[in-house]
Every structure is written in C-alpha cells, then in structure tokens.
C-alpha cells in the first residue's frame, strides 16, 4: 500500500507511472472501534433521570397548642396499618368498633387495591353527588414496616385515586391489632 517511489536510476527512459490504487479503505477496524465506544457509553451513562413521587404532609401542630379537632363521619375513613412480612391490616370505621375488618391483606392488584376501589365506590354511592365527601384513607406505618411498604401503599393510593389520604402515627390500640395478626413482633 504505502510505497515510496524513489524513482531509482535503472528505468531511465521510461515514464514513471503512478500506480493506480484502490480508493476503498478497509473500514472494518474503524467500525469495530466505533461500536466498542458506543457500547461503553451506553453502559456507563444513565440516560433517564430518576423518577420520584410527591408526598405532602400536613403542617405539624406545635405541642403547646391543642390539636385541631375534626369531625369526620366514621363511614368515610379507611385505616390501613402496615405490618411486617409485607402484609397489612385494614379496617373501616373506628378502631374500637370497626364497621368492617380488621382484615389482613397483601399488596398489589389482588390485595389492597380491590378493597380501596370498592370502598371508594361505596362511599361515593353513600354521599351521592357530594364530591367533597369522598373516602379518607389513613395510613399508619408500624415500626416493623419498611420504606418499600410505605411507597407501595402510597402508590396504591395514587393508582386508585383516593381523594384524601394522610400519613398518621400509629396508636397502641392499633399496634395490638397488628400483634394479634402476628404482623408486629417486638
């Protein structure tokens, strides 16, 4: 390929002819290199930004002030207690005398989602047309529940479009409920 024509002395009379060379260059090695670099960049970079989920908490009431009392009808509140083993307990109504429950249920579309959907429907049917009075879901996470559980339940709430929800501290009464179902070990 790369020859240097020195034009030596022995071919004196003849014209020096330049060799006709093939114009095509072998690109195989170059393509190899290019694809290698592509793979490298594809693997080392994170193209997409991480996803996130919004969480808004209510204002904390200072301890020296009396807590604001809100009266809500018991047939609008569904309480979900997050326990260990990726299970939860839900009850409908008041903790002392629940209208329904307490029932143990798992996460996912065959678990809590069904309950949430049916409760949203029944509350809407009960308060016909009054869009301000929808279901209220209270999420109470126990000490043994994980962060995954929390995100899962918030996600479930987002999927089922629960109008009002809140993250609340668990009460001793509800702890006992979880312990009874063996979802909270000390």
């Amino acid at each position: 390929m790369a020859e240097l024509n020195t034009g030596g002395g022995d071919s004196k009379g003849k014209k020096v002819r330049s060799k006709k060379q093939d114009a095509g260059v072998d690109l195989t090695a170059m393509v190899d290199l290019a694809f290698l670099l592509i793979t490298f960049f594809m693997l080392t970079t994170s193209l997409s930004k991480p996803q996130s989920m919004n969480l808004a908490m209510p204002d904390k009431t200072p301890e020296d002030q009396p807590p604001v009392e809100l009266t809500i009808s018991e047939d609008r509140t569904l309480t979900i207690l997050l326990g260990e083993k990726n299970k939860m307990v839900w009850y409908y109504g008041l903790a002392k005398e629940p209208i329904e429950g307490p029932t143990v249920v798992g996460y996912g579309k065959n678990g809590i989602r069904k309950e949430l959907l049916s409760k949203i429907k029944s509350v809407v049917a009960k308060y016909q047309g009054n869009s301000e009075k929808g279901l209220i879901v209270l999420v109470k996470a126990s000490k043994k529940s994980t962060y995954r559980n929390l995100v899962d339940i918030l996600d479930e709430i987002a999927i089922t479009k629960v109008p009002t929800y809140a993250l609340v501290d668990i009460t001793p009464e509800e702890k006992a409920m979880l312990e009874k179902e063996e979802l909270l070990t000390k």
């Binding site: 095509g24 072998d26 690109l27 195989t28 170059m30 393509v31 290019a34 694809f35 670099l37 592509i38 960049f41 594809m42 080392t44 970079t45 994170s46 193209l47 930004k49 991480p50 996803q51 996130s52 989920m53 919004n54 969480l55 808004a56 908490m57 209510p58 204002d59 904390k60 997050l82 996460y107 996912g108 579309k109 996470a141 126990s142 000490k143 043994k144 529940s145 994980t146 962060y147 995954r148 559980n149 929390l150 995100v151 899962d152 918030l154 996600d155 987002a158 999927i159």
Partner: protein
C-alpha cells in the same frame, strides 16, 4: 453442456454506511449522556408507578439506608455556601482550597468534625464502604437539621428559590428511620418532598 458458472463475487462489503451510523450513534451518546456518579451510599430505591421527574436544580437529596443518613446538594455554589454556614455554626474553619474541594463532592455522610478529613481524601477513597459513617440526626446532635437549614439559606440567598427536598430511601429500611427524617423536615415546615423511586407498571 455448458457449466453453470458461479459468479465470483468479492467478499468485501462496503463499510462506509455502517461506519457512518456507528459514529452518528456514538456522537449522540457522547452528547446526551451524563456520567454515572459513584454514590457514597448505594441504595435500592423501591418502585412506583408514578413518573414525576425529579427537579434538576435547587434540590437536596437525603439518602437513607442501613440506618445511615447521607446528604447531597446540587450546585457547587450552594455547596460552598452551605459549608460556610456549617463552619460558622460548629466553629470550624475551612481554607479556600478545602471549600473548593468540598463543592465538588456530590454526597457525603460524616459528622461536621470529620469533614476536614473527608475533604482531604481522594474521591475514590471517599466512596469506599465504611469510610463515611453517617450524618448525626438524633435529637442530641442533629446535624442533618443544620445541613438542611444551611442549604435552604444558601439556595435562597444565591438563587432566590425555595429548596426542594428529595428522600432516597432503601427499600428495606424500616419505617422509624424514615419517620425521623420526615420529622426533621417537618420541624422546619418542609411539608412537601419527593420520594425517589424506580419505575414499574400498574400490574403487580
């Protein structure tokens, strides 16, 4: 009978087009991508179906995993300014060089007293496991609160914007740790924050 002659074709293929495509892709990837930054505290974020994107600026990320809490700020100016405020608070002094080095650190998790040592380390040593313990966040020595406060002041001063807070928790982290972090935020009246999650479909 005439023999059927196999036409002898050259085995060489014209690579020009392929080469063009390869380099086009290569330049695309080089331009659009940002390099993955090694994290001091790798966590496995839980998945959710929601697709809210995390804001890019004026953000702090609180990484929680294994009982440890790490803190990360976006923007070199904010980092430098927040460090100044922390130094003032804990009666520390940092040289200009140290402040500059600190502003290049994405996330860290050491008590204020050990910051000097951390800054002196090389970046690959810094992200080794066990080098950084955690930012103290209990009620006796709540440095996490100070850092959030410092970052908020810094963002407000430099960019005239409210600081946004993202919590990046490990999926297996138990709720009390998360609760503590949320409480620290709520004590400062930060009631809205982002939970960093992975992506999944509704069908689970």
């Amino acid at each position: 009978m005439a023999k059927v002659k196999m036409s002898k074709k050259s085995t060489k293929i014209d690579m020009t087009a392929m080469c063009d495509v390869a380099f086009l892709l290569l330049s695309f990837f080089v331009m659009t991508s940002t390099a993955k930054v090694p994290e001091p505290l790798p966590v496995d974020a839980p998945a959710s179906t929601r697709e809210t994107k995390l804001p890019e600026t004026d953000l702090v990320t609180i990484t929680v995993g294994d009982g440890k809490v790490f803190f990360g700020m976006v923007g070199q100016d904010v980092r430098a300014d927040a460090l100044g405020r922390i130094a003032e608070k804990y009666k520390l002094t940092f040289t200009e060089e140290e402040t500059k080095r600190f502003s290049l650190i994405d996330g860290f998790g050491v008590p204020a007293g050990s910051l000097k040592g951390l800054i002196a380390l090389k970046s690959d040593e810094r992200n080794k496991e066990g080098v950084q313990s955690s930012i103290p966040y209990d009620s006796i020595d709540n440095q996490l609160r100070e850092w959030i406060l410092a970052a908020r002041y810094a963002t407000k001063d430099l960019h005239q914007k409210e600081l946004k807070v993202a919590i990046k928790g490990d999926a297996k982290e138990e709720y009390p740790t998360i609760k503590k972090v949320i409480d620290i935020l709520q004590d400062q009246k930060i009631n809205k924050f982002f939970l960093v999650t992975g992506l999944r479909t509704e069908d689970f």
